[in-house]
């Protein structure tokens, strides 16, 4: 009886049955099968959504990149012409270069986060508030971060300009200068990213084995040696996640470029995602195919990292099975 109730509470048995006999056979069949069926029923809604909105669009992006399409009319197949055009497109190289710059410089968030975490890993009174406030930049939207830094960099009165003048340099309009604009935006991006890495390392430091530290101290290790040989190996999981989220963050950079410079001046601060957006959706184009081919390049870069990540996870999972 309780099994029948159980079965009717499950999502499978929706229909009404004609006879008691049928109820019994169906129910027992369901019980026999449910261990096999259940995972698929649980997975279905989520996996379906994910397939439709994430996995299929990746494939569609690749397909669209072989077409000339304005987003409304008919698609015209043009083979690899979009990619040939990319090959000679100077704006594309600027964006690609900037993306690589983002990747490399964004990595500074990892050691910087570690440094702040070490600085804050104490037990003095009020330290919890300090930790939360240091973490603060991560909670606010990148749009707001962008506005804050636009104001910080503003020529004439911006805090940064004042600081330069105070130090005896001439003020620079960072965001209007092709030489510095990408560095300026990356610095703004580093602010929340450092906070993120810091919190990862704070949690990691919290879980470092005290016994090992004591043992190492007795052996005379301290300072850099302690950090390098005793602490960092134990922080490896935190480092791994910090690196992963920083790579993802660097490749996803869009918001800051959009709010701070709109890719300017003269397209010098564009990144791939922003250039793609410009080509596909802004007044310049509605060139969906060309935009998609830029997306494919971005995807290819990310795929390198995703593969590395999955390989590592596969190792972990094999170990735990």
């Amino acid at each position: 009886m309780s099994q029948q109730v159980a079965a009717s509470a499950s999502p499978q048995s929706g229909g009404t049955f004609s006879s008691g006999e049928e109820v019994r056979t169906r129910t027992s069949k369901w019980i026999a099968n449910q261990r096999r069926l259940a995972p698929w029923l649980f997975l279905m809604p989520g996996a379906l959504m994910f397939l439709v909105y994430v996995i299929a669009p990746i494939a569609q992006s690749i397909t669209i990149s072989f077409y000339d399409w304005d987003g409304i009319g008919t698609k015209a197949f043009i083979g690899i012409e979009n990619y040939i055009e990319l090959w000679d497109d100077e704006a594309f190289y600027t964006s690609l270069y900037n993306n690589l710059l983002w990747l490399v410089l964004y990595m500074l968030a990892v050691p910087a986060g570690l440094l702040i975490a070490i600085f804050l890993n104490q037990t003095v009174t009020g330290i919890r508030i300090y930790k939360s406030l240091f973490f603060f930049p991560f909670v606010i939207s990148q749009i707001v971060v962008g506005l804050i830094f636009s104001w910080f960099y503003a020529p004439n009165f911006g805090l940064f300009t004042k600081l330069l003048e105070f130090l005896g340099f001439e003020g620079i309009a960072i965001l209007a200068d092709e030489r510095f604009v990408t560095y300026g935006i990356i610095a703004a991006g580093l602010w929340p990213q450092i906070a993120y890495c810091m919190i990862l390392y704070l949690t990691g430091l919290n879980n470092v084995s005290p016994d090992q530290i004591e043992a190492a101290r007795l052996d005379g290790a301290k300072g850099w040696k302690m950090l390098w040989y005793v602490i960092l190996p134990q922080l490896r999981p935190a480092t791994f996640i910090a690196v992963v989220v920083t790579i993802i963050g660097a490749l996803r950079s869009f918001d800051l470029v959009s709010i701070m410079t709109s890719g300017g001046p003269y397209g010098s601060s564009r990144v791939l995602s922003y250039y793609m957006y410009e080509q596909a959706l802004s007044e310049y184009g509605f060139r969906m195919g060309y935009g998609a081919s830029i997306a494919v390049v971005l995807f290819a870069i990310m795929m390198v990292f995703i593969t590395l990540f999955i390989v590592r996870m596969l190792k972990d999972e094999r170990g735990s099975y």
């Binding site: 159980a6 499950s10 999502p11 449910q34 261990r35 259940a38 995972p39 698929w40 989520g46 959504m49 994910f50 909105y53 994430v54 996995i55 569609q60 003095v124 300090y130 939360s132 406030l133 603060f136 606010i140 939207s141 749009i143 707001v144 506005l147 804050i148 104001w151 910080f152 503003a154 009165f157 919190i199 390392y201 949690t203 879980n207 470092v208 530290i213 490896r236 996640i241 992963v244 993802i248 996803r252 869009f254 918001d255 959009s258 709010i259 995602s273 793609m276 957006y277 596909a280 959706l281 935009g291 997306a295 971005l298 995807f299 990310m302 995703i306 990540f309 999955i310 596969l314 999972e317």
Partner: protein, 282 residues
């Protein structure tokens, strides 16, 4: 503990540390503090070049005028309309998927899991053209619903990773015992596992709330008009109108940033637990 506790250090070191803390915090948050002070400055201060001194008066009216002369209230409402259903939807779906991937052994299990993980790491901008097209075809372009559907789907990837690892860490004896008793799979999920997932649900809720509230890209790609625009997209359009009216830009920014900040301070423990998942185990 590393580094060695300051409490054991010499007196000068202790004092130096106590001084260094607030000073470094001040430097760290300098841009933010600047904006907060600017948000309560009267416009005349900025006109007279008083950017960094003490504001000549506290103008809370900047905030008032942000709400009165712009659709800021509507933008905020839209953000809630997008964020709350997304949180509920993504968490509901990922409780199910996470449970399936954590408790059943079947061939495709690991590969499905990797699909969620890999999809979640994709620079989501590459989905732009197809997702916008799909949303247009469904007649949901420029609506809150269209935005919510995409967010739910995309966040399910991250949430599944999270939930699956969380459930996997639960003692499997609980589920085995219930199975021996003949409890149906769905009831095991509902009555045995779900109650234990509360901390994971709490952690994910705060995280997803913040992620979605702060989303800008999809808001601009899937929404056009004011009527469905969330606050991140809204503030950009206001930024265009308020050229160099930094007191209004600042007040608007503070307003837009507020809900996730409040959420963070109220649920800090859960937030950090969610964010640092996996940062401690090998």
């Amino acid at each position: 503990m590393f580094p060695a506790p300051v409490a054991n250090a010499t007196a000068p070191t202790r004092i130096a540390y106590k001084v260094a803390l607030p000073v470094s915090l001040l430097v760290w948050l300098l841009p933010l503090i600047g904006v907060m002070v600017t948000s309560i400055r009267p416009a005349s201060d900025l006109a007279m070049g008083n950017y960094f001194g003490v504001p000549s008066s506290f103008e809370l009216s900047n905030y008032l005028s942000v709400f009165q002369s712009t659709p800021m209230g509507l933008f905020i409402m839209n953000s809630f309309k997008v964020t709350i259903p997304t949180v509920i939807g993504a968490i509901a779906l990922s409780c199910l998927t996470g449970y399936a991937l954590a408790t059943y052994r079947f061939k495709a299990n690991l590969w499905l899991f990797f699909m969620f993980v890999a999809g979640n790491f994709v620079p989501f901008q590459i989905l732009m053209v197809p997702v916008r097209d799909l949303t247009l075809k469904m007649g949901l372009y420029d609506t809150v619903t269209g935005l919510v559907l995409f967010h739910v789907a995309f966040q399910t990837g991250f949430c599944t990773l999270f939930m699956r690892n969380f459930i996997k860490a639960l003692p499997s004896e609980l589920i085995e015992a219930a199975r021996v008793e003949g409890v149906s799979e769905f009831r095991i999920f509902w009555y045995v596992v779900l109650p234990l997932m509360r901390p994971a649900i709490a952690a994910l809720s705060v995280l997803i709330f913040t992620f979605i509230w702060n989303d800008f890209f999809w808001a601009t790609v899937l929404v056009q008009g004011t009527h469905a625009m969330p606050v991140t997209g809204g503030i950009i359009s206001l930024n265009g109108q308020w050229v160099a009216q930094w007191h209004l830009v600042s007040a608007g920014s503070v307003v837009a940033a507020m809900p996730p900040v409040i959420m963070f301070f109220l649920m800090q423990k859960h937030f950090i637990a969610g964010l640092t998942l996996g940062a401690t185990k090998g």
